[in-house]
């Protein structure tokens, strides 16, 4: 019989969560984006939302409206973030993020306090962006474009 510790380890290794794409269609146009449902919170404020999974973004970005709603404390002087074609100004903040558990196979809803960048211009980015830091260090991410699915597999570092 498998020892309990090994069973736990096996469950942890196979822990995964599957999410569908967010899709809109009008006429013959169909647009789909890999967006991850999360809960963003800070202090007593919080709400459920979806963030665009962006493998090319080095950091996680929120939009100014979200920072204002959550009453995030922005710190430091503005710095430059380099988007496509132009740079835009961002400030630093922290937020608590928790994955919404989709079709889950052992992924517990963990809450993380993470650093985020907040653009100083309202329309610098169209979506909140889940970027590489720190999210990609926690999950093996599989994007199944044709099936319109994202699979997150939790990685536990010993």
């Amino acid at each position: 019989m498998t020892p309990p510790a090994a069973r736990r380890e096996g469950r942890r290794r196979h822990a995964a969560c599957v999410y569908g794409y967010t899709t809109a269609q009008w006429g013959n146009v169909r647009d789909k984006l890999p967006m991850i449902p999360v809960v963003l919170s800070w202090g007593t404020k919080g709400f459920r939302t979806k963030m665009l999974l962006d493998t090319g973004a080095t950091s996680t970005f929120l939009i100014p409206d979200v920072a204002e709603y959550l009453e995030l404390t922005v710190t430091g002087d503005p710095t430059e973030a380099h988007g496509a074609g132009r740079a835009f100004s961002v400030r630093d903040a922290e937020v608590e993020v928790q994955l919404e558990v989709g079709h889950s196979f052992g992924v517990a809803p963990e809450r993380h306090r993470i650093p985020v960048k907040i653009p100083t211009e309202a329309d610098a980015i169209p979506f909140p962006v889940l970027g590489r830091k720190p999210f990609f260090g926690w999950y093996e991410i599989t994007i199944r474009e044709l099936r319109e699915e994202i699979i997150l597999r939790r990685v536990y570092h010993d």
């Binding site: 899709t23 809109a24 146009v29 709603y69 496509a84 196979f105 979506f127 962006v129």
Partner: protein
């Protein structure tokens, strides 16, 4: 190799056309298409608030649906993006 990477013995348990949280269901793509580029608040598969800005939708939800927890997000609009 592919099966091992995706661990399909678990993946098969998933219903084929889902992938969303059991507590959240998006409206159909056609309904979301009516709100392309807008921020929406979705509860039980229905859009309960919408607007051009996230802040106005979040405040509308607080005002009109204080006891509910909709998912508030921007609907894809087919724009060309390189973030």
């Amino acid at each position: 190799m592919y099966a091992r990477t995706l661990d399909l013995r678990y993946h098969r348990k998933m219903s084929p056309k889902s992938g969303q949280s059991s507590s959240h269901r998006d409206p159909s793509p056609e309904v979301l298409g009516e709100y392309r580029g807008q921020w929406v608040a979705v509860l039980g598969g229905k859009v309960i608030a919408s607007g051009a800005r996230a802040l106005e939708v979040l405040r509308a939800v607080d005002r009109d649906h204080p006891d509910s927890r909709p998912v508030v997000f921007r609907v894809p609009a087919g724009e060309v993006m390189l973030l």
